[in-house]
Symmetry: C2
Subunit: 328 residues, 2 copies
């Protein structure tokens, strides 16, 4: 057999979320060199979008407790792109419902190097999300709508949120598996559902997977096979907890002829190996357990922090199982 039968679909676009999701590990304290290394690698590889961070509120999140990529001020963004050479790499930023002063923080597009605004929200924040989407679209941006923690939402509620989103100017609706709990069968089912809603409204479906069950890459491919055309990935899988779909895997299988893998491998060696000495991420057993129990990774993150609780998988398993039994 020849190597790597992949997916070829010219409509697929890939978004790098290394710095944005990775910022959730280190309070967005990446130095400019690191962010520029990721930017250069993505541009050279032909990646379509790079998400740098959040435009969240410095009233809620004090500046002295977070790095620059929590706020993504335009000056900081310009420092990343430099003279903004014509790389074809578009810049993205996330705004969180209830955590962003989006009315003022999101500038009119002509005043910002940003191309894409992604609106992140929980199901109960859908009213604000719709207002955020309207605002960003009116200011001239392409918009994505990211309903978070989808595996914790009742299906009837997912349907109601999707009904609201198709009426907005969002271009894409993203499946967000915040807990890394989706199995392949669930991924297929959810993507088909999102695709039905989105396609009828002329919108695209995106996939943002987490790697708790070592399924981030595979679920991203499954979504792509089921019609998702906006795929999130990060170099080395960098991201909160178990991390995301590794870019170096995705680019070798999805539209492999359109992308260049070598700059990503170079960045993996030069920027991610040193970072691993400072911060931890990846599909460690603790994250697998929160994924299996369909829980936010916070219990796993806490367990990994202290030497007394790190690698104590059984205690975490028992606690998660107990919590799960109680909820029944």
């Amino acid at each position: 057999m020849s190597a790597l039968w992949g997916i070829d679909n010219p409509n697929i676009k890939i978004l790098d979320c290394s710095v944005r999701d990775g910022g959730l590990v280190n309070d967005h304290r990446f130095d400019l060199d690191f962010v520029q290394a990721v930017y250069r690698a993505c541009a050279a590889a032909g990646v379509d979008y790079m998400e740098v961070g959040y435009k969240n509120s410095d009233r809620i999140f004090p500046r002295d407790a977070n790095g620059a990529w929590k706020y993504c001020d335009e000056d900081d963004l310009r420092a990343v792109v430099g003279e903004n050479p014509e790389t074809g790499l578009k810049l993205s930023c996330m705004i969180d419902a209830e955590k962003s002063d989006w009315r003022t923080a999101v500038l009119p597009k002509e005043k910002s190097p940003l191309d894409l605004i992604r609106v992140a929200f929980y199901d109960y924040q859908v009213d604000e999300a719709v207002a955020m989407i309207d605002d960003a679209a009116q200011k001239g941006y392409e918009v994505c709508a990211n309903l978070m923690a989808v595996t914790a939402v009742d299906e009837s509620v997912i349907d109601r949120v999707l009904e609201r989103l198709v009426e907005t100017p969002t271009g894409t609706i993203v499946i967000v598996d915040s807990f890394g709990s989706l199995t392949p069968a669930q991924t297929e089912y959810l993507t088909q559902k999102y695709f039905r809603f989105a396609n009828a409204a002329g919108k695209e479906v995106g996939m943002h997977a987490h790697n708790n069950m070592q399924l981030a890459f595979s679920n991203t491919l499954t979504s792509a096979r089921c019609g998702a055309t906006r795929l999130d990935a990060s170099i080395g899988g960098l991201g909160r907890g178990a991390g995301n779909c590794p870019m170096e895997l995705l680019l070798s299988v999805v539209n492999a002829k359109n992308y260049r893998l070598r700059p990503i491998i170079e960045c993996l060696e030069n920027a991610l190996v040193p970072l691993r000495r400072e911060i931890e991420w990846g599909p460690l057993p603790e994250y697998m357990l929160t994924g299996q129990f369909n829980q936010h990774p916070r219990a796993a993150i806490a367990a990994r922090k202290e030497p007394e609780t790190r690698d104590r998988f059984l205690a975490l398993y028992d606690r998660l199982r107990e919590k799960c039994e109680e909820a029944k």
Copy 2:
């Protein structure tokens, strides 16, 4: 959504290959405590088979250069199972074509605690493999036929091997992705092919995946969805190079009600965490690269061994790409 939509198929049986495939990392030098810990965990979890090692030749592989599980003498096997309590856990052993004195080393079944013999061979060794299968079946064992490195074999050759195997008394034909190169699409295609051959002859299909591209778990699920009913996994993914499909993931999704996860989590904490301080395995970037280039992991294993070449992904990528271009 509720957590973990899985696969339920009462015909599926799971084989633990932790000690057998893990033995390829440390020349089979596991002490008895470790092997017994895996045995007890698998028995308590309800795993169907445990593969302890090889019955390979001590003429070819000197005893002083390898641990006991390279040879799997009956006394060593009996030390693992103890008084062989009625656990329901069956014992398996692998014999390699051209590397095993199988005519004498495989005893009649009534003289051995083994239940299953797995015959591992490359496509050009199929004549000996057929003789090995016949011999083991005649001696009273259940038999599996494992054509190794399937992604390196021309499809017409795969077909010819399958035609030979369906004429033998093997009960199962196992898809062996030695290089960890199978994408989901290839896994689906190959499983369907193996299933057509096997099913027509009343045989089962098995899946032995490697985790180079973080697809071992997902490919195992894909195979199961396409009719494979014999699934290999290992605790903590222990196995050569990138390792195998993690047992702690598989049991949570496949026939989850039939298996108990807790003993596996306990073994992961008590036996695999200490082992990780001694030996290395898992889906590191070097193994990803050999998987992507459909190569044996030996270049990656060599690169990981020395501090000067470890984490030098770009040099390995360039070498693999050059080799690949030359082969064209």
